[in-house]
Symmetry: C2
Subunit: 297 residues, 2 copies
């Protein structure tokens, strides 16, 4: 299968591409600056430029589209006006894809589309709620792409990503910031860490998205580990992995009052319909990240 | 106030423009082919062309944007892929509007955004449900524009239009088809007409949208008469107005099994927050349309 991947050089995109290649698919990557790491066919395309989506699609004519590109700048992406431009260009992209005969479209969504329930988020049962411009535009992208694909007879999957972490992530993100500090012997200051989350290694998240592209499951599928964990447990496990539990200072940063107490996933669809099981458990995954930070020093 | 109206030459656009002018506003109309009927400043713009929205906005620099343009071809617009292009271009338009400092944005929505309840549709209480590509893309447009306007501090109103009718409407639409038939002495074949709807004269719908632009009400506002009426009563009233009740043949066309039994509106927001009351009652409005059809023969 010939798969066009947007955002192919991104944090998660690289892992998706690696897995698609190992599954035997032909991959064409689209990004603004080509990445030399992976031996695939790159198309340099600024998808935010009007008309770029249609031109790219006519050139590549893929069997499947995996659309990952969106604004992702740490701390900024929640409220950035660029989100609405990404929605506009994503509409152009999927419309162009259906015009050149694409058979399957998969797009990356976010767990922040859910109205946060007291238990796990279920694809078919948990209500959706618009919080910020980021999740509102993502949610809109899902609704309209689903409706278009239904009209056009195109198979459509929406991979709702929960939290993920991995080597090379932004050092201000949770796992990166703690792992970096411990790797250089600095104290890692944390909140009390009592909120529950689902954290998945980025290689697993990428592999899960690749599996979603290659299967027949339609509609929303949670991309998550299925293992709820408190932030405090992540910090303590990193301390253990580093042998520097003494540097992990829980409760020295304030808790954010608007932080949802729980964002965790049902992974029944991912396991049963996509047939995907993660490779990393939390400890192995965190050790992988810590080792990467150690290697940078 | 300088108001940019897209779709200004359309069925409802003409009436909006007339009312805005009579209220003393400066109106700039954007459309693909300029209309000579109204003495306003026209900009010929194909809003579906990539980049056109930004260029138009930079040229006009309005205080307010009233966005009416969308795909509207009778019978086709429900499922047309062009809906997703209209969503993309609408995103571009509102983003460009906020960049040139627009203070208020009003967009036309549709009563088909509602999950049809057993009673009236209330803006704050009745759930939304995606039915077709048309209402799904409209609903997405509302969600993301609202979120963007909130980030940018721009006032935003969404006029959810119920059914409207008037002189010059498509002759396949309900009122037009019956009025045309009666005006030439032909039988008007109808379904049983037992479904409840809200029908508003297009001049009132246009005036209500103009009032919505000029006021401070934010969020969704139903644009409707507030008078539930059975389709059969519309047909019978047209028969009375024409003096040809004998030509109105109710029950000679099949009822559509998927037709919602009731789509009627609460107009409390329109009355109290926008301060708008319609000019036409149903009989006067239908007589106006019948007279127009008579004048065509």
């Amino acid at each position: 299968m010939r798969v066009l991947v947007t955002g192919a050089s991104g944090f998660i995109g690289k892992h998706v591409v690696a897995r698609l290649l190992s599954m035997g698919h032909e991959v064409v990557g689209a990004c603004r600056t080509p990445s030399p790491d992976l031996l695939i066919d790159w198309r340099v395309a600024d998808l935010l430029a009007p008309g770029a989506a249609a031109a790219l699609m006519h050139e590549v004519r893929p069997d499947a589209l995996l659309h990952l590109a969106w604004c992702t700048e740490h701390g900024k992406f929640w409220r950035e006006p660029a989100n609405i431009t990404w929605l506009a260009r994503s509409c152009d992209l999927v419309e162009a894809a259906t015009k050149v005969g694409v058979r399957r479209i998969v797009i990356a969504g976010t767990c922040f589309e859910y109205a946060f329930p007291e238990g796990d988020c279920y694809e078919h049962a948990t209500p959706v709620e618009n919080h910020f411009l980021y999740d509102t535009t993502k949610d809109a992208c899902r609704r309209v792409t689903e409706a278009l694909c239904q009209e056009k007879g195109v198979s459509f999957g929406w991979g709702r990503l929960f939290h993920f972490y991995g080597a090379g992530e932004h050092p201000a993100r949770l796992v990166g910031s703690i792992a970096r500090a411990l790797s250089v012997g600095e104290a890692a200051r944390c909140s009390s860490g009592q909120v529950l989350r689902d954290y998945m290694h980025v290689a697993d998240a990428g592999a899960a998205l690749a599996a979603l592209v290659a299967c027949e499951a339609t509609g929303v599928v949670n991309i998550a580990s299925g293992e709820p964990v408190r932030i405090a447990a992540i910090a303590r496990t990193l301390g253990e992995v580093a042998g520097r539990g003494d540097l992990v200072h829980l409760g020295t940063l304030p808790d954010r009052p608007d932080d949802p107490p729980r964002i965790t996933a049902s992974v029944t669809r991912l396991r049963q319909e996509v047939g995907f099981t993660p490779h990393f458990d939390l400890r192995t995954g965190l050790a992988d990240v810590y080792d990467w930070w150690r290697a940078q020093t």
